[in-house]
Symmetry: C2
Amino acid sequence: MTDVVSVDPRTGRPVEVVAQETTHGEVDALCTSALAAMPDVEALGRAGRAVVLRRMADGLEKRRQEIVRLADRETALGATRLDGELTRTCHQLRLFAEVLEEGSYLEAAIDHQAVTPMGPRPDLRRMLVPLGPVAVFGASNFPLAFSVPGGDTAAAIAAGCAVVVKAHHSHPATSKLCFEVLREAATAAQAPEGLLSLVHGLDAGTALVEHPAIRAVGFTGSSTGAHALLAIIEGRPDPIPFFGELSSLNPVVVTPSAAHERADELAKGLVDSFTLGAGQFCTKPGLLLVPTGPSGDAVVRGMSQRVQAMDALWLLNEGVADSFERGTARLVDTAGVEVLAHGQEADGHGFQAVPLLLTTSASAIPDEVTEECFGPVAVVARYSDEGDLIGALQRTPASLAATVLQSETETELPARITEAFRSRTGRLVYNGYPTGVAVTWAQHHGGPWPSTNSQHTSVGTTAIRRFLRPMTWQDAPADLLPRELLDECTEVPRRVDGALQLAEPRPQTDQGQAT
Amino acid sequence: MTDVVSVDPRTGRPVEVVAQETTHGEVDALCTSALAAMPDVEALGRAGRAVVLRRMADGLEKRRQEIVRLADRETALGATRLDGELTRTCHQLRLFAEVLEEGSYLEAAIDHQAVTPMGPRPDLRRMLVPLGPVAVFGASNFPLAFSVPGGDTAAAIAAGCAVVVKAHHSHPATSKLCFEVLREAATAAQAPEGLLSLVHGLDAGTALVEHPAIRAVGFTGSSTGAHALLAIIEGRPDPIPFFGELSSLNPVVVTPSAAHERADELAKGLVDSFTLGAGQFCTKPGLLLVPTGPSGDAVVRGMSQRVQAMDALWLLNEGVADSFERGTARLVDTAGVEVLAHGQEADGHGFQAVPLLLTTSASAIPDEVTEECFGPVAVVARYSDEGDLIGALQRTPASLAATVLQSETETELPARITEAFRSRTGRLVYNGYPTGVAVTWAQHHGGPWPSTNSQHTSVGTTAIRRFLRPMTWQDAPADLLPRELLDECTEVPRRVDGALQLAEPRPQTDQGQAT
């Protein structure tokens, strides 16, 4: 038996034993129960699962203060941020309830029997079905929105999958509390017990990914962790989809016109963005391309002044603090990298990090700089002309987001920057900051590797697609078809004999309104 | 330099040297050219790529006789089958042209700026964009529909990706001819030269999958081949999606009522299906569950008689012939497996295979039987009751297709069989045969592992999704948006602020009509 301990990052000291690490036998029992629950989860139907998700949101909101207080004690992210994160988490759960009601996520399609140049064609009906039990790995940096009650859990349940969450060791008490709230809500909504389970411990996580009942993995975390899990998946007789959001550099370009127009505003915006949440966002802008010359100098000076004025920030846990220390030491020692500014000295309490701003030349960005360093650090790369800038962009690895800060009137340079970014990002941001990822229908949070599955998103309504697979029924008797594939069904959008058809309007309820 | 030799399977003898194996340097040049072509391929637009695809279909049809004759000489699949395969291949190309015109494959979505409970939300616009150059591995068993001019090529070009095809060594001359036809059509349609390339040789295939420019792989073939390519992908600094259709058992259940009603019809249908194309379909029914007792006996007797009357069939190549010989010898030697019937002796010419029908008990199906054996062989597993049947189904691996042959009036048993099949297949077939996969909007050809990507199909219009990834534009100036994401665009279906909207009706042209 190994204790699962909750640590306060503001003191660095253990506060309480939350649980015992889950044994392999327990993991097996939970996975088996998740698999056994699948028919009942599916039988809840889209409407039933929408109720589950809304009850979960209601349950979390009812215990808002308690959850926020506990999450703050375990993450030091601050009550304001965590309050916002809880609001986002509840919104996410309710948005997936809408996705279920709207129903186009099923991609339902019917091709009736026909005679074709290739001969007679059978009746074919396709829609997406749940993959099976999903393992969700909670993230250290979002104890709510990407952890037990987070987007992966919401999307998987919406898809009709049972979920086993591996609690992040950095916030086990918050994980446990949220799990209890969700479980209670699920039970009240008639969901089977196997719908949602929680495990603690690294070994339990490994056992989860190995387990034959698990059909997909959602993961937010480090490359190292992801590679370890991928190796386990590749060793399975039946490898399964792995959806990992790993490190990301998220380059930002400040154009000369933008630097000239609003150096101070940009300096504030950039520092706010790379130090938000103590720089522990997967969308943190880690590489800032700023022109050489007086306007660029003004941006850099403004940033340096702001960084110098900053206090040390608490990081999430000892591991993050250690790797920030190692990572920044390595950057500072790298030839071609210079320190522009650092914040106030730490006072020696807990897992503190001193904000750091570095600089290098865009024409010779060292490899060390293109690797993500989690925490409040960013590197300014100065470019002398357009060729210098575009060359630098073409050498950066792919990122979740890529940002252009430009003048309202310029078009040519932003077009060239966009072209350079196109094959290297999942989201293009204009005159904004990459941190902050709205949960909507049109959102995308992914991109080419280091997102392990470049074809899907981990944020937004289309995140549900990760936990579904297509299935086709050929000449099936009506009584064996899902209701959404019956000829007379008008409740979901469908493609019938090639033509897209909208659903019949649904009666509006208080709960069914658009958000 | 290594010769690429075309062999006639009917004689087993080399006929001509078609080409030289592509060198690593040549592969590099072709991949680089494919990458360079991407902006031009995208600039063709949906309409321009539709023209390319239709010209390709026209070009293939103009040389129909020549292509069919050559493909028959290289595969021994017969002119009738290959003529049908060419028709299917051209239909496939034209259907993807329709997919482009229809435009919903883009999954375009717009969320306008809004104020939400989480604060102000930016303008977000999402659609799918091409992944980048795609490597397509031609299949031995479909020299047209799953090879150079096949579904993967059509889907990738439709998606806006340049394609480098690795010709299957079993039909290099057909590959070369088809490539020339497609290339000529592409040039006539203003497509860049890098849109389509062809490589020959195992080493060239390896170099292709290793090449940094390649962003996805489409593969139809053996598990061994797939595992070798997956190992290469896992060694890349940026692993890429691999879409493999590998072996598949495709179980078929004959219910007692069906056996009672139409034993002879079923016997004919089953033998026709498992020996179609000399049993070289990935949808070949390899395991046939037939009830014990007189009705089941009648089915088995009918099958045996038909198999006994069959001549030896030509297999595609020496490798397939060798592995059929080894595989059937292993099955015959397996404890619990008995020979029911075999066809007429081979006459000693070329790569012949004698059709073979085996039997075993459903209650103790040996592991050897649940592995695919490519070629004209099937195993009948006799079940004594429903428990016996369902237990057997629950022990079979996942398959591309799973089939129920039932009486029109029965409902309970088909429902239980369907339930057992649900998590183990991509397509459920009722009172039909799994061979024959129509190319339509609602088709699905995939499933849980051994399809390496359970979430996507390799047949049907949604196959295009494999070569696309989402991208989101945040607060982008209108001049940097793709036209399909401009507010005023009405030419494709879109989701606007959460609501699905149909496209404005398109003017009907001769080419744009539904098929």
